[in-house]
Amino acid sequence: MVVKVLTGNYAVAEAVRLSNVDLITAYPITPQTTIVERLSEYVDLGVIKSRFIRVESEFSALAVAYGAALCNARVFTATSSHGLLYMHEMLWWVAGSRIPIVMAVVTRSIGPPWNIWDEHSDFMDHRDCGWLMAFAEDNQEVLDTTIQLFRITEDERVYLPGMLGLDGFLLSHTSEPVDVPEEHIVKSFLKPRSQPYSMCGVELLTLGNLPKAEDHMMMKYDIQVSMENAKKVIKEVDLEYSKLTGRGYGGLIECYRCSDSKYLVVGMGGWVGTMKDVCDDLRDLGYKVGVLKVRFFRPFPEEDIIEVLRGVKGVLVFDRSVSYGSLGHIHTEILARSYRLGSRPVIKGIIAGLAGVDVGVREFMNSIVGFVNEVEERGYVGNYSEWLLPG
C-alpha cells in the first residue's frame, strides 16, 4: 500500500489506472479537467494501456464510451454540470441498454449565471434514469468507490451503469493523503468484464428496435428489480473490498455515532466530514447527535435508513440541491420512506451551500442546535423545510 497525496480528481485517475480500463473518453469541463489531463498523460506515457478518445462534446463522450462498451470493453468517462446535462439523453439510453459504464461526476452549479463552484444539482438531476449513484466524502472514498463501482455495475444481478459524485473544488482540487492499493490486489478484486450481451459477438442481434408496450414495461420493471438487487451487491462488494484493503464504508450508508443518538444529521458528500466534526463537538456539549451519511443515493437505501431512524426524536437533513417548487432531494426521499415507520421522528430539511456558498462549522452548529432545541421544547418544528441563506 502506497500513500500518495492526491486531489480528488487525481484519486479518480488512480482508480481508473488500477481498473484495467480499455477505453477512456472525455470532454474537458471545469472542475473535471484534471481527471482528463492526468488520464491522457498516463495513456501517452504508456502508464495505462488504454485508448484515449478526444471527443468534440460531452454528448459524444458518453456515446463513444457506450459504443465501445457495447463491444465488451470496460470504459470510463467523467464530466460536470453542463456537460452532464448535455449527455442526459445518452444516460437514459445507456441505462436502458443495461450496459455497465462507470462515470465520475465532479459536481458543479448550473448556470446562468456561469458558476464553477460546488452544488449537487447536476448530480441529482439524473436520479430517475437508472444509473447507480454514489457520492464520496473524501478522496480516499473517491478512489475506493470508483474501483468498487466497476465491480458492482458489472455484476450480473445489476448490469446497470453507475456514477460517482465528488464535490467540485472542495474534493476535486483539494489534496489529501490517499492509500493507493497495489495493482495485483485490485486486479484480483475486479473480475473480467461482464455484461448481458455484446453487439460485436457472433450472434446477429438488433438492439433497441420498436417494442410492444407490454414488453417495454417489463424491461423497465427489470431495471427496478436490478436496482433493488444492487443493494445487496453493494454491501457484498464493500465487505470484500474491506477485507482486501482494510477499508470499508458500510455499504449504502454510514452511521457515525448513531447507535445511541436521539438526533440525526443527514448529508451526502464532502461536507459530511464537517458534520462529523460538529457532531463530536456537540457530543462533548451533551447533545446525543449522530451523522447519517448517504453513500448511495440510487438505489435509495430505504431499509438501512429506516432502521437507523427508529427511536430517533429528530432528523435534520442537509441538501446541497433543491427541486424548485418542491423540497431538497434527500429530504424528499427520507420523508417519503418514513411513511414506513409507525411513529416518525421530526424530519426537517435544510437547503444550503448552493452555488458554492461555504457551509462551515458555525453554520452547522447553529442549525443543529437550533433544531434540537426547538424539538425538545415544542415536540415539532414550525418550518419543516428551510433555506440556509448566506449573510
Binding site: 462534446s57 454528448f59 463513444v64 463491444c71 445518452m90 438488433t206
Partner: protein
C-alpha cells in the same frame, strides 16, 4: 446501352444472394432505404455492425422480438450515431472476429442534429464507414424539411417550397481531409457496392452519400423509385463522384454529364415529383442555376 448491360449482367451474377433485409419489413412500398440496405449487405456482409439513429430505417426493422435486418444492428439516439460508431471503431481490434462499423444515418441525423458528431468523428479519422442515406427531408416524422431538402421542394414545413439551397455535405466532408468521400444512388447499385467495398479497404473515416428518392415524401408512384433516382443523375441534379485523399473523380455515368448538352432536360426530373408541382418558371431557372454551380464547384476539386 447493351455493352453497359453486359457488364452489369456479369457483375450482378457475382452479388451474394443472402438476404440481409428480410421480407415482411415495415417500410413503405418502393422504399429506397430498404434497397440501400440490401446493397450494403451485399457489399459488406455479416461483419457489419450497423449503427442506426432515429430514421425510417429504425422503423423498417419492425417490432420486437423480431428484426427485419439480418445483421448486427445498434439503434441509437438521433444525434449520436457517429460517436457510437466511433466507440466501436476504436475498440474493434480488441474484439475477436471481424467488426466493420457502419453508420446508416438519414439526412436529418447527418446534416442537422448529428452534424457535430459527424464532424468530430471525421476529424478524428475514426476507422468506420459513414453512409448518409439522403431522402432529402425528415421522412420518418412525416416529411419535414432538413438542410438537405433541395430548393423549391414542398415539405410539411415548407409548403410554399423551400427557399434555401441544399447544403453541400459531400464537399464539406471532403474538406475534413478524410481518405474517402463518395456519392452514390440507389439506381446504380453496382456503383454503390463497389464504392462500399473500396471504402472497406481504406483505413480511416469513409463517407458515402447515397441518394434515396422517397415515393411517400417526394410524391411519386412507388414503382418509380429507381427511375427518379436515375433521372436525378441524368439531369445532373445528383453528381456521382468519388474522392480518394481529396482528389475528386466523377464516376459513370456522371462523367458524361459534365457536358451540359448531354444531360436530360431538368423538367423530366421535376415533373415526375409532386413535391415540385408548384415550381414556377423562375424557380425552375433557379434550380438549373443551382445545378450549374454545383458542377462548377465540383470540377474545382477534380
Amino acid at each position: 446501352m447493351v455493352v453497359t448491360w453486359v457488364r452489369l449482367l456479369l457483375r450482378i451474377q457475382d452479388l451474394p444472394k443472402d438476404k440481409y433485409v428480410l421480407p415482411g419489413h415495415t417500410a413503405c412500398p418502393g422504399c429506397p432505404e430498404a434497397l440501400g440496405l440490401r446493397y450494403l449487405g451485399m457489399a459488406l456482409g455479416k461483419d457489419i455492425v450497423l449503427v442506426v439513429p432515429a430514421s425510417c430505417s429504425s422503423i423498417l426493422q419492425g417490432t420486437m422480438p423480431g428484426s427485419s435486418l439480418a445483421m448486427r444492428v445498434v439503434n441509437v439516439p438521433f444525434a449520436s450515431a457517429a460517436a457510437v460508431a466511433s466507440g466501436i471503431a476504436n475498440i474493434k481490434d480488441l474484439v475477436g472476429g471481424n467488426v466493420v462499423p457502419v453508420v446508416w444515418a438519414g439526412d436529418g441525423a447527418t446534416a442537422d442534429i448529428g452534424f457535430a458528431g459527424l464532424s468530430g468523428s471525421a476529424e478524428r479519422n475514426d476507422d468506420l464507414i459513414y453512409v448518409c442515406v439522403d431522402n432529402e427531408a425528415y421522412m420518418n416524422t412525416g416529411i419535414q424539411r432538413s438542410s438537405l431538402t433541395p430548393y423549391g421542394a414542398w415539405t410539411t414545413t415548407t409548403i410554399k417550397g423551400k427557399s434555401e439551397d441544399k447544403k453541400e455535405l459531400p464537399l464539406i466532408m471532403l474538406l475534413h481531409k478524410i481518405p474517402y468521400v463518395a456519392t452514390a444512388s440507389i439506381a446504380f447499385p453496382i456503383d454503390f457496392i463497389s464504392k462500399l467495398r473500396k471504402a472497406l479497404n481504406i483505413r480511416g473515416f469513409k463517407y458515402i452519400h447515397l441518394h434515396a428518392p422517397c415515393p411517400t415524401g417526394w410524391r411519386f408512384d412507388p414503382s418509380k423509385t429507381v427511375e427518379v433516382a436515375r433521372l436525378a443523375v441524368e439531369v445532373g441534379a445528383w453528381i456521382l463522384f468519388e474522392a480518394e485523399r481529396g482528389k475528386v473523380r466523377l464516376t459513370p455515368p456522371s462523367n458524361t454529364y459534365l457536358d451540359k448538352s448531354r444531360r436530360k432536360p431538368l423538367k423530366e426530373y421535376l415533373s415526375i415529383q409532386g413535391r415540385f408541382r408548384s415550381l414556377r418558371d423562375e424557380d425552375v431557372k433557379m434550380f438549373e442555376k443551382i445545378i450549374d454551380s454545383a458542377w462548377e464547384l465540383i470540377t474545382k476539386f477534380t
